[in-house]
């Protein structure tokens, strides 16, 4: 529940459009949303699960990328 506090007011069903400056990174996206960098435990970019690391945070995003950010999750 707590994780939802980071969703922008404009979001619907857990999804939101976010604008970043050109060359914006995943780290910038987290900043924009006010998510501390150590909070996400799993990041999925365009369907590819990426884990979390500084390297991933430094990756440049491009227009239209779909980024899913999760707190600790898992177990089937």
């Amino acid at each position: 529940m707590k994780f939802k506090q980071y969703l922008p007011a404009s979001s619907s069903d857990g999804k939101a459009m976010v604008s970043l400056k050109d060359g914006g990174t995943l780290g910038d996206l987290l900043d924009t949303l006010g998510i501390p960098p150590d909070v996400p435990k799993l990041v999925i970019i365009n369907g590819i699960s990426r884990g979390v690391s500084n390297t991933v945070n430094a990756e440049t995003l491009t227009d239209g990328d779909v980024v899913a950010i999760f707190p600790p999750s898992g177990g089937g």
């Binding site: 857990g14 999925i44 898992g74």
Partner: protein, 611 residues
């Protein structure tokens, strides 16, 4: 023999008698207990070519050395037999409180032989063991059966304290997807073990135990338990995610990873997945989390639905139950194109009450839906329009399957036999006739190898590579590549065999770094047996090979180590790939020490003491 009770109850249902056997420690040690010991007994005592429903097949209930000790997640027991669904060795695993109670009664396990003349149940109250008539409640649901057995007991304290494992109508009617249900809502789910129980006319086992499990050094054990508990609590998955949202927290993740089987795996993304996700369950139907014996995680979900349309059997207005879990909500949901959580929950309750595996039942409905939409399975046979997204069809077909009514008669045989009957076996999504769980290997390559090589067919709990491929629990790997996956799958499969044999729940391995050393420390503290890590690693490998030998002798071949055509040929997943099984399978055989036909070499077998 501390931690183990050292005794097995052998019950011959044909003769209506039983005796107690001591376990030879030398026989036990290389197999640890649980899955390993049960599989060894089955391998030694049953011809792998046996008809699973014949009196010659045996049904083995087995606990592990840690079951009931109070170690974290030490609730498990296993049901081992030859599967009537896949024809492979079956080992189905369940939590709750039944397994620990069996040990408190003084037994590591029970071996059932033969077939009873009339329906019976086994009564165990410590040393008192009796085969009793179940004629009065044959035909009843698992919930009614448990209530009935309790109600018959005069001593009200005892009536409250017993633990019951039973089959429902599905098992009685030999549905090949029937499970064994204990504590009303925990299931030894897969491979049709409930049908073997039904074939033996064994309706239930009721057990009460007041004994203690002996420990060599209580203080050392207590220390090991506290440490293991801390590791589990510190793990992000086991300490935070599973307690808060249960297993269904995976729905949104697997969907975003574009590996969520949808409309019988025709697509891998479900637009309205959030409506059936763990987060939505927590906000709507969840009453409270529910844990098994000694579990610090408590991933179980005690739920309640009040809509009269969607209650279970037995009560018209109101119903409580457990679930749905991830696999259930995904396969009854997205894979059937359904986002109605209440309807899915009702179908889940029906499965628990009728004693059917939710994975196989859901996958069989999804297969029926695709057969219907493609015009291969006519409405007149189905009795309704079974299009994807039709929540009423899910409920009605589930009930028909449990009762073997109408189309339910063939559906009760499982998805493969349904698809074959209607001329399209390629629409069955499973391996070795076992319906696949809810991860599409086109976007997580290792799971394709896991499904193809698991000794019981398409299964996630024989090697949960998702933990690394998607969740990054121990290390984060790239799910889209095949390099290194043969080794990963082998490693996961072997450690899983050890966990299943120990009596711990597989979810301990979702705690970061809960690996061999943690398991070793608990087993040795509980037993004083002094297992080394190398010995445990060998045990895992030995069990994997023993099960493989059983399957080969049963007539399975390399040709069975494959995947549905859809996963090998139709693009899916985030990059529109197929599962590249051929890039992994030869390497897997090689790493296993098997020849190019997947047969263990003499060297490998003698190294494991299997020659």
């Amino acid at each position: 023999m501390e931690a183990w009770m050292g005794k097995i109850l052998r019950v011959n249902l044909s003769y209506g008698d039983y005796h107690i056997e001591e376990i030879d420690p030398d026989y036990l040690r290389p197999y640890l207990g649980g899955r390993g010991l049960g599989s060894k007994i089955l391998y030694d005592e049953v011809d792998p070519q046996v008809d699973p429903f014949s009196p010659e097949n045996k049904l083995i209930f087995m606990t592990g050395p840690l079951t009931g000790t109070g170690a974290p997640c030490s609730s498990r027991y296993m049901v081992i037999t030859k599967s009537p669904l896949s024809g492979t060795i079956a080992c189905s695993n369940s939590g709750g409180f039944f397994g620990p109670e069996l040990k408190f009664a003084g037994y590591d396990g029970i071996i059932f032989e033969g077939v009873a003349d009339e329906p019976v149940y086994l009564w165990i109250n410590d040393d008192e063991v009796e085969i009793r008539s179940a004629a009065e409640f044959w035909g009843k649901t698992t919930h009614e059966t448990e209530d009935f057995i309790r109600a018959k007991i005069e001593n009200k304290y005892l009536a409250k304290e017993i633990r019951v494992a039973s089959i429902g109508p599905a098992g009685e009617k030999l549905s090949r997807i029937a499970c064994v249900i204990n504590d009303k809502n925990r299931a030894a789910g897969r491979s049709g073990v409930g049908a073997v129980m039904g074939s033996k006319k064994l309706k239930a086992i009721a057990v009460r135990g007041t004994g203690k499990i002996m420990l060599p050094d209580k203080e050392a054990f207590h220390k090991a338990v506290l440490h293991a508990r801390d590791v589990i609590r510190a793990g992000p998955v086991t300490g935070e995610a599973l307690p808060a949202y249960g297993t269904a927290v995976l729905v949104n993740i697997i969907n975003e990873a574009k590996i969520l089987p949808t409309n019988n795996w025709q697509v891998t993304y479900f637009e309205t997945a959030n409506k059936i996700a763990g987060e939505t369950i927590a906000e709507t139907i969840l009453k409270r989390p529910k844990g098994c014996f000694a579990c610090p995680i408590a991933c179980g979900r005690l739920t309640e639905i009040s809509d009269p349309q969607n209650t279970g059997m037995g009560s018209p207005k109101y119903f409580k139950g457990e679930g749905p879990e991830y696999e259930t909500v995904e396969l009854m949901g997205a894979s059937c194109g359904i986002d109605n959580l209440a309807a899915i929950t009702k179908a889940n309750y029906l499965c628990n009450e009728m004693g059917m595996d939710t994975i196989s039942a859901a996958a069989t409905v999804a297969t029926a839906m695709e057969l219907y939409e493609k015009g291969y399975l006519p409405e007149k046979d189905l009795g309704l329009k079974a299009n994807f997204g039709n929540a009423d069809a899910l409920i009605i077909l589930t009930e028909k399957m449990g009762k073997r009514e109408g189309i339910g008669d063939i559906m009760a045989e499982g998805g493969y036999r349904l698809a074959e009957q209607y001329g399209h076996p390629e629409l069955f999504m499973g391996v070795k006739k076992l319906e696949a769980p809810a991860y599409d290997p086109r976007g997580v390559q290792s799971m394709g190898l896991q499904y193809a090589t698991s000794n019981r067919g398409a299964c996630h709990v024989r090697g949960y590579a998702i933990a690394n491929e998607i969740l990054g629990v121990h290390v984060k790997t790239d799910p889209l590549i095949t390099e290194g996956k043969a080794e990963m799958v082998k490693t996961f499969q072997d450690i899983t065999a050890v966990i299943d044999s120990s009596g711990l729940c597989l979810f301990v391995a979702l705690a970061t770094n809960f690996l061999y050393e943690e398991i070793q420390s608990l087993i040795n503290a509980a037993s004083g047996a002094g297992y080394t890590v190398d010995e445990l690693v060998s045990i895992g490998e030995r069990i994997s090979n023993l099960e493989r030998l059983f399957n080969l002798k049963a007539g399975l071949t390399k040709a069975d180590d494959t995947l549905p055509k859809r996963l090998l040929e139709e693009p899916g997943g985030p990059k529109g790939d197929v599962c590249r099984l051929n890039e992994m399978l030869p390497e897997y055989y090689q790493l296993r020490g098997w020849d190019e036909n997947g047969v263990p070499t003499t060297d490998k077998l003698s190294g494991l003491g299997l020659q």
